[in-house]
Assembly symmetry: C2
Homo-oligomer: 346 residues x 2
DNA sequence: CTGTTAGCGCTTTCAC
DNA sequence: GTGAAAGCGCTAACAG
């Protein structure tokens, strides 16, 4: 029992057969090579007994594939990306892949380095939730031939395949909901300007307004970051206006946290004093000071589709089909939007 | 520019030098081997120009180290583990390591498989946030010689090194805080029984009670899971008692979400009708229906210490120093505990 | 200061 | 049915 079986040769020597045979059996090719049942079983038993697992590094070198996927997200502590990471890890493993997790810290330079790093580590595919508006480093990278799929955001005009949420519709429906509750002065606190997710949401917001004959007031569309602080600062500014909004659409869950902080500092209650809808439902969304109406994205679906796409691309020797998927979001109506049609409040 | 430089040999051939020299320069050993400035620069320039990065798989095979760390958590979508993963990824990368992320789905069998998987992938070290009470598969595993550190929970009597929070003190101080606010009937909704984190917290709870001369009522210590549902069900049961508690200590953030759900279904307000303190502060904790008083763990510190420990162990050829670290938690007092000393409410 | 050679552990021709 | 030998890309001994 104390024999040190460190590689396939040791095992082969022990059984008085060749490494080749052991390799074949262990890879389930006993049939293909017509290896006798006796030999096959002998190998399997020994591997089991000595708890031998082939060295996947050596295997990777030889096969020129590592059965590893890379995942780059801007912030794994953000519950949105954490949820996505969970389904991706699960799906990857189900398909025999391991996941190298990289956090780009919302920094484009880091993102670029990370792509290089993953290339050096010979991952078989990459799932990227990109940071910013620039995509030069990504398109340059795809020339290396490693399959890559963009999630969450997409980079228009680059031809990079992506899976994302139909953010336009998400915002449109959220705003329409608020309008139906009587709101006319609706603010929209933006995330990073110029990136697809944000642009689409803002456009959905504007179009919903226009459709109802409400003109767009650009002073009601501040902000330039998906973080909490941006929500806080801009809510304060909005509240200081002579004609403050009766409702706010927060373009991320973190922004909504900042909105709530500013509101509570001003002793303003949701939804009595002001209404709020935010993007991306979280487990705690229903338990906030006012259970929050949210635009929910299909995080599971995004993760599944991304992995499947990559697995298929890898199977086809890296030939990537171009796909553009936009999943319809879902408006979860809770209690953060006040109906002001009757009372005419504010 | 269209030369395909796919390995170190190609680059060497192009420059009419040996692969050895290229390797040495690229590994920063030009000095050690007294390689001429001219040659050194030539190599660096060419690598830059052709954007050549050595194949780390081949390197890993040769060096018998992959510069990869494995991280196993029970649920990466749980913000507690997501936060920890973030600092671990950051610290790992800072030390030149990449992170393979594994989610054990709170399942011990999966955890065991994952350990095997990581061993096969020849990670240089493993950070494990274990699932359950059993540790046989872990101690058996450490014999393989891969440095491993336990975080979050610890396994008493196994001699496995760990970094965790002083959960006893965390619970003790939380309960003491509630008692000072006049509470005497304080419930404690447990996570998984028998694991260190839970046991320590329950003991801290009991001892705080005893210290103040309050006897422990075992019917007030229900529960057996860290999830939301457990919090929900047991809160309902507690509320149905003829003598319900005036305060609840929830032993996880997810449990507290379940508590809040049950409370809101019964139209009970925090803290007016019932007080609540929970473990593990989250970004949203301050924005809940009542800003919640929380026992906060030093997630960053845990991540940093774990990586540093592993890096040191690896540096020392896998000789692991035995460490047991218990970080003092911090009670963040917000508004979810009512002072009932004066009114004598309930 | 630089190069030749061997070998990490695996799989895959090719041979019998 | 099975095995010997070559080689994936890299680096460490051993030369010189």
């Amino acid at each position: 029992m104390e024999n040190k079986i460190k590689n396939i040769k040791d095992l082969a020597a022990l059984l008085n057969i060749s490494a080749t045979t052991v390799s074949r059996v262990l890879n389930g090719k006993a049939g293909t090579y017509r290896i006798s049942r006796a030999t096959g079983q002998k190998v399997l038993d020994a591997a089991e007994k000595f708890n031998y697992h082939p060295n996947r590094i050596a295997r990777g070198l030889r096969l020129e594939k590592t059965e590893t996927l890379g995942l780059i997200v801007p912030d794994i502590a953000n519950p949105f990306f954490a949820s996505i990471a969970k389904t991706i890890e699960f799906e990857a493993r189900r398909n025999g892949y391991s996941l190298i997790l990289c956090d780009s810290l919302d920094n484009e330079g880091t993102e670029k380095e990370l792509l290089q790093l993953l290339a050096g580590r010979k991952v078989d595919g990459i799932i990227l939730a990109p940071v910013g508006k620039n995509s030069g480093h990504i398109t340059a990278f795809t020339e290396k031939g490693i399959p890559l799929i963009i999630i969450d955001r997409y980079l228009p005009g680059t031809g990079l395949p992506f899976i994302t949420t139909d953010n336009y519709t998400g915002a449109f429906e959220a705003v329409e909901h608020m309008i139906l509750q009587g709101h006319k002065r609706i603010a929209c606190i933006q995330g990073v300007r110029g990136i697809s997710v944000n642009t689409d949401r803002v456009n959905g917001y504007k179009d919903a307004l226009k459709k109802q004959g409400i003109s767009v007031d650009h002073s009601l569309i501040p902000g330039n970051d998906f973080g909490e602080e941006n929500g806080y600062i801009n809510t304060r500014k909005l509240l200081n206006k002579q004609d403050p909004p009766t409702a706010i659409l927060a373009l991320s869950n973190l922004i909504s946290l900042g909105v709530m902080r500013a509101l509570s500092e001003n002793n303003l209650k949701i939804p009595d004093d002001i209404s709020l809808v935010a993007f991306d439902d979280q487990p705690y969304s229903g338990f906030l000071s006012s259970p929050m109406t949210m635009v929910d994205q299909h995080k599971e679906e995004i993760g599944k589709l991304a992995v499947n796409y990559l697995v298929t691309s890898i199977y086809n020797q890296g030939k990537q089909e171009h796909i553009e998927v936009m999943l319809k979001p879902r408006l979860i109506i809770r209690k953060s939007v006040n109906n002001i049609t009757v009372t005419g409040r504010q």
